[in-house]
């Protein structure tokens, strides 16, 4: 099933929530690796989005200059 891609801001919010949870909440070792894995996935998504956006912008600007 095609899942709707998570937005950048939504992803960052997700990372922050996880972080807040493990920083301030009662840490749960059973969930910790799961949480960190989730955060890492979100970070990966954000990175990918940033890289794509950067490439797109560079492409657009290059287009303008030609």
């Amino acid at each position: 099933m095609a899942k709707k891609e998570i937005g950048f801001n939504e992803a960052v919010k997700g990372i922050e929530e996880i972080l807040k949870n493990i920083e301030e909440g009662e840490p749960d070792i059973d969930r910790l690796s799961e949480d960190v894995k989730k955060a890492a996935e979100l970070i990966k998504i954000c990175r990918k989005r940033l890289r794509e956006t950067g490439e797109k912008i560079d492409g657009i600007m290059k287009d303008l200059k030609s």
Binding site: V12, I15, L19, I22, E23, A40, I43, L50, L64
Partner: protein, 418 residues
């Protein structure tokens, strides 16, 4: 001359002429407006002079006048040099004239001198009047308040295809060094003479009808110090320009003073080429602004991206550090628990050992062998332990058990405690 006497028309005209010449001074200084002016092939100038009641718009006097060729050449040159305009229709002049009467042509004035300063003053007054009227109407700055398209491409031109300035304008516009493409369109008009006003307004009218197809209108014509610009000191042209839906630029070749049309224009220039150069520069500015904006856009976007990357890195570091910290804390907790556990195990074992030791020693005390070692004995009768003398009779055989052996005795008597 007696009543009833008959004379010829020639005699009558001669009579009138003689009477006129007798009774009138040699010359007059007269103020009149030129209603018509033309020169013939010999260079003689023929005029129609009028007096006008401007409030009623009515001609109140009219006369023919002549300036002979030799006079006309010098007068016109001087007049043009002094006022900036040639002798032409529509202007008011102060002139020195002799009244002439000809049998065939009737009355006319022969002009021998003209005072240009009067016309200059009159024109200045008229011009001031126009400016005052436009100011009172509140329209002087109306065209200037319009905004020019950033890239003015479609240019409606009011000019004459024969005007020198028109070709200059087109050349400067089309051969600009940046290769910008403009779409000029000529709306032919008469740019000097008495039909100027009507012709220019008609051209503006045609542009106005399709105004949405143009970015600006320009009124241009070739210049030169001797050309007559005063046709553009026209209330009607100026008013039309103020009401025009497009910015109107003028380049009508003036050296010194602005015409009223220049004054109400969106912007006025000295020459048609200056108008063309402005349009090219305007476009260059526009392109530069776009380039600047594009570069700011790129910088902004790159900045946003890098700050997002930083935020992400910080989140990543925090997540990793926190997770590692939690693991370490938990590990330490675990170690502590293990130690506590170990400590308490040892304690328990020791305590249990001690208890066992105590019990052992207590048990040791209870062991009959131990008791006998300390000197206690055990008495049995027929192998049965006797706890009291109650089961014994004199003569019974009893065995006394010691730690190191036993002795057999016979009971002599028994007694009980108490």
């Amino acid at each position: 001359m007696n009543a009833g006497e008959k004379i010829t028309l020639t005699e009558l005209q001669g009579l009138i002429r003689d009477k006129l010449y007798e009774s009138l001074p040699d010359f007059f200084w007269v103020i009149a407006e030129i209603a018509e002016i033309k020169t013939n092939s010999a260079g003689h100038c023929y005029l129609e002079l009028t007096d006008n009641d401007t409030t009623r718009g009515r001609v109140t006097a009219r006369v023919r006048a002549t300036i002979w060729a030799a006079k006309y050449r010098s007068l016109n040159t001087f007049f043009n040099a002094s006022t900036g305009i040639p002798l032409r229709t529509g202007i008011t002049i102060l002139f020195k004239a002799t009244v002439e009467y000809h049998e065939l042509y009737g009355l006319s004035l022969n002009i021998s001198d003209i005072d240009p300063s009067y016309t200059a003053g009159d024109m200045a007054l008229r011009r001031e009047g126009i400016i005052r009227r436009l100011t009172t109407d509140g329209v002087m700055t109306m065209n200037r308040e319009l905004s020019l398209a950033p890239y003015p491409r479609y240019i409606a031109i009011v000019s004459s295809s024969k005007a020198a300035g028109y070709q200059d304008f087109i050349n400067h516009l089309t051969n600009n060094p940046y290769g910008y493409v403009f779409k000029p369109e000529l709306f032919e008009a008469v740019m000097q003479g008495e039909t100027t006003e009507r012709s220019v307004i008609e051209a503006l009218d045609r542009i106005s009808a399709g105004a949405s197809g143009y970015d600006a209108a320009v009124i241009i014509r070739g210049g030169g110090s001797t050309t007559d610009l005063s046709w553009f000191d026209s209330y009607d042209i100026a008013f039309y320009v103020t009401q025009f839906p497009l910015p109107v630029m003028t380049g009508i070749g003036h050296e010194k003073d602005l015409t009223v049309t220049d004054m109400v224009a969106w912007r006025s220039f000295k020459t048609p080429t200056a108008v063309a150069d402005f349009l090219v520069e305007q476009t260059l500015d526009c392109e530069n602004r776009i380039i600047d904006m594009a570069s700011s856009l790129h910088t902004e976007a790159a900045g946003l991206l890098s700050s997002a990357e930083e935020q992400l890195s910080s989140l990543q570091n925090r997540t990793a550090a926190t997770a590692r910290l939690i693991v370490r804390v938990k590990d330490e907790q675990l170690g502590y628990h293990a130690e506590t556990l170990l400590r308490s195990k040892n304690n328990l074992i020791r305590a249990a050992k001690e208890r066992i030791d105590r019990t052992e020693s207590a048990l040791h005390h209870l062991d009959p062998a131990g008791v006998m070692q300390r000197g206690f004995t055990l008495t049995t009768k027929n192998g049965k332990i006797m706890h009291s003398p109650a089961g014994l009779e004199p003569g019974d055989i009893i065995v006394t058990h010691f730690d190191q052996g036993h002795a057999t005795s016979t009971v002599k008597e028994t007694s009980k405690k108490g």
